[in-house]
Symmetry: D2
Subunit: 339 residues, 4 copies
């Protein structure tokens, strides 16, 4: 394959980012058609159509799915049936059995599927990954992930999000598996609502601390909040037998201001689009690259499934106030057949 022909379904916030990155910065790929039932596509320099036209399009080899979550599984399945590779934004689906059903078809039809866990491609987290993999900190014993949003999404969004674990923590669940390079055994989660009764009324939480155990007794801890007054807080610390590596937030500038009142410096980049902008580019480059060179997809359906199982285990842990084995969730859904 010398040029990859791509269709893009969904032209919202993330869809636009992928579109721009592909058009401007990624070689060897051409966007053949864009579909979005609601967005204004009139100014686009590429043909527009429906999702069905994209999936049926004779020259399109891969489809990028950035449509609403409840359409992801359906479009992946349609792509699988049409023999088209897929890049799909997270989450694949809120229901584990739906994910399982879709993954079985993906496997059967032999298409390549990549999930949009973009944080794996962030320069800071890549550095942690690199240092862990290099052995510089020895065996990782404790991994700490801080992941706090600058503010909660609208209530309407919350109601359809599948809950904080499925919507927000899912990135952190994937990060833990990605950095630890080993499978999770058990999850224990605490949860709280500090942001007011509306969030509780929506059936959701806004604060959590999640302890994740691995077979070898190493542990990861995630702490989440939907509202950090000082902005977007995304840090990781890995502690191992030979040392520790930390990554902090990114800042808009490196200034420090010293006055009689104290030493002041810049708040972190405030929003995920600014903080992770480069990661979306790297992620898509690697997807394109994997298809062009028929090499391994960096984030698989298996990864999506595992992160979802962790989210379900965390929910069950909160409900029952006890550590929950991943194998409990997997047995419930016969997920272990696929995992």
């Amino acid at each position: 394959m010398s040029t990859l022909h791509i269709g893009l379904i969904g032209f919202g916030r993330i869809g636009k980012i992928h579109f721009t990155n592909i058009q401007q910065r990624i070689k060897g790929v051409e966007i053949v058609m864009v579909a979005d039932p609601v967005a204004d596509l009139s100014g686009l320099s590429v043909p527009t159509g429906t999702p069905e036209e994209i999936i049926a399009h004779p020259t399109i080899e891969a489809v990028i799915i950035c449509s609403p979550t409840d359409t992801h599984a359906h479009y992946i399945e349609e792509c699988a049936l049409a023999g088209k590779h897929v890049f799909c934004e997270k989450p694949m689906d809120l229901a584990l059995d739906r994910i399982l059903q879709t993954l079985r078809l993906v496997q059967e039809k032999g298409i390549k599927l990549m999930l949009g866990f973009n944080r794996r491609f962030d320069a800071n987290f890549l550095k942690v990954k690199h240092i862990i993999d290099s052995g510089e900190i020895g065996e990782t014993q404790i991994l700490k992930v801080t992941s706090r949003d600058p503010g909660p999404p609208p209530l309407q969004y919350l109601r359809e999000s599948g809950g904080m674990f499925m919507d927000m923590t899912i990135h952190d669940f994937d990060m833990v598996r990605y950095l630890m390079n080993k499978e999770v055994k058990e999850v224990y989660a605490t949860a709280a609502v500090f942001g007011g009764p509306d969030i509780r009324a929506a059936g959701d939480i806004d604060t959590a601390v999640i302890t994740i155990k691995f077979e070898d007794d190493s542990v990861a801890v995630i702490d989440n909040s939907r509202k950090a007054a000082y902005g977007y807080d995304q840090r990781v610390e890995a502690f191992g037998s030979l040392g520790m590596v930390q990554v902090g937030n990114n800042v808009p500038d490196t200034h420090t201001l010293a006055t009689a009142q104290g030493i002041q410096s810049a708040l972190p980049l405030h929003f995920f689009l600014e903080r992770y902008m480069e990661s979306y580019f790297t992620e898509m480059s690697q997807f394109v690259d994997a298809l062009l060179h028929d090499s391994a997809i960096p984030v698989s359906g298996h990864d999506a499934l595992k992160a979802t199982v962790m989210a379900l285990a965390a929910q069950k842990s909160v409900e029952e106030n006890r550590p929950v084995l991943l194998s409990e969730i997997e047995a419930e859904y016969a997920a272990e057949l696929v995992i």
Copy 2:
């Protein structure tokens, strides 16, 4: 009281620190007698004697107990019977019922008792406390305590230490209560041994992550290791509704060295004696001050009791792999009568 007369029992590592601080830096206090059955006291400028002589001494008003842990409760009780105030190094005792018995006598005899949780007096943690109490970060929702030793103590020490939770984490349990200003509801602990079979054979652990829930759903997380390759790692982060405060490690110097190999800076002060040297001075100053001015003792027997209950809950949590309510431990020991 214009001058406080003090006796010192135990002239080991910590006893010497208290001795020197009192002799050289604390006004209004005089050391009348020092006792230690094994240490060489020949060069001391103050009279020496036995613990019993100190406790029976007519002019001694307060006793500092720095002897081995298994003598703490006994000496406190003897002091209580003799009407002498006490400063006692942590832990009061490894057995909760012994602590309870001692505290009842302390209460009955009306002496003042202060426990040596010196980290409360560290400039960094005092700053966190001050910021939390000032309301600058609003309601604290998540507290993170990192407490890692540069290396495990000798096996002989480990065998008599009461286990990592009772020996090492007890400082962190106290720190959590101190900073959060509210009582703990429940403890969930993971534990591991990464430092070799000897530690396991001694019945101990060397790595733990402990999740601590409060009545209002706020959470503290402690992560412990007996062996941080890069030295003594003592940090705290408090996250609240209006902001976050962090304190890091202390360093021997502020240098950064930039070469083609990278940017390098100093490792933290390597040992607790260096890191916490000033906290021992402040702690003892406040004890002396509280006695001289008949004001409140900053760390009470109640604090010692609560930290011990938390350690027992953590042990039970590991054994039973479930969150353990403090009230379970307290009921078992009828501790709630005193607490």
Copy 3:
């Protein structure tokens, strides 16, 4: 003007950056033609031609000059005669009288001319500027500019560069004037060669410390090296009556790695293209914006002239080992007529 039509002369390293930024990220501007006698322009999506064709082109309203230094003044003059606005890379010319001659024509013909002092548009330096202008540090009394390259350019380049002051320090001279918001009175410079006899043989220096006095006795100090072993070092510190602001280097990631060997963090971004990439975009956006809205050009020919006078004063200061007044240089060239 609703769309600005632009011609680009010179498609080397910097020319390509401007081309890409305009094509991909700046609205309201269209590149009508590109000229470069040596670069391969075959893959470009826009027409190509000669510099003369661009300057004579009927619809082109502004020209971006990225050709070799010795052509800058000539093309600016041709553009002035053709009534076309100009963005020109620094330096305008190595000879002050040539710059003066060109500026007189620019003034006479009334075209707008912007010089490519891109560092003014760097997020860090913009922050310093903003803080100084806001009055947060009061009156600036001492300004310190550290500007060190990761390695010297090729000798061939050095020979034609006009010397370190004219080629490298010129950015710092401009930065000093930009941040201080007042005119320079006097320059005293030390210079050294530490990088080997070739640099000396080329008549150049590779290390300098330059002290710059202002009328109000405030002082700026620039320290330069052509070879910082740890990479590209670009920092500023402004000290004023009410405080101080510093900006440091940018890093590829925020990691710190703690091992028994020390605490290690990332070296600065190594090359000016990485460090200043965003500044080129902001610079060009503002040029386009100023033309579209007929507003003030942010970096004028006057700025180019002043920086050049400072470079000449520094050279003279080294030669004569004494502080040199800018008025001496200006008198020599009758430059004060234009300045």
Copy 4:
């Protein structure tokens, strides 16, 4: 010598520090007598007397001189005549010929003389020294010393201080020589008064930037202010062929506070007594050690002389607005005979 017997002349701010350090923390030394005509010495545990009694005392082997500057030279000379070693606070004297006269007598009588350039013993600067001496940054090419006070001393003090170069910068002049390990060739200084007409009326300055050239073309730059709004600012940066080392300020705690308003951290330790407290201890330990073991004195009269010559060269440089060779000053005073 197994115990060093010492007399202390001057019990002001610095005298008390030396007294306490010797009494409490330095072994092998005994203070035999203290003299101060004005301080209240009634509570001291050691005998008191006059300076003359100290100098004539049969068992006193060394004298610490912390009396006013205008008595330093006299007491040193009296000690030399009496065969007593001397530790003297800086400056030796404000007049170079007086210093020369005193040093000649010191040399003739063969006593040991150490000058109180305490900053040489600060942990941060010692680290810079160690790194430079180790060769880790190669040949030092540029040294930058930032030395800013939190506020000017009283006018009365200023009038008798000998001027900022002699009183304040003298520490930095010594630091430059100490760190660079080579002799200074030439000094160029700018000076300003920003702190109001009183300072100017007192004949002094409060702000300066001083460029110092060495024979090998390496350069040191000192920037001074009598008034940094944010406190006491004491930093050093050494840039060499293989890298750079920086040391920053010391802080009372390591906190960072993140709120919606920004990231805030602690101001530096505000006063020289706090910042340099440990350096006074180390300095005195080394003086005692050198006498006890008859080893080299770490800061010699030669060092005091050289720093004074640099201060005089800086003054002359400001007056004549030109670089001044140290040899000019030395020739004027025939100082080169001794230096």
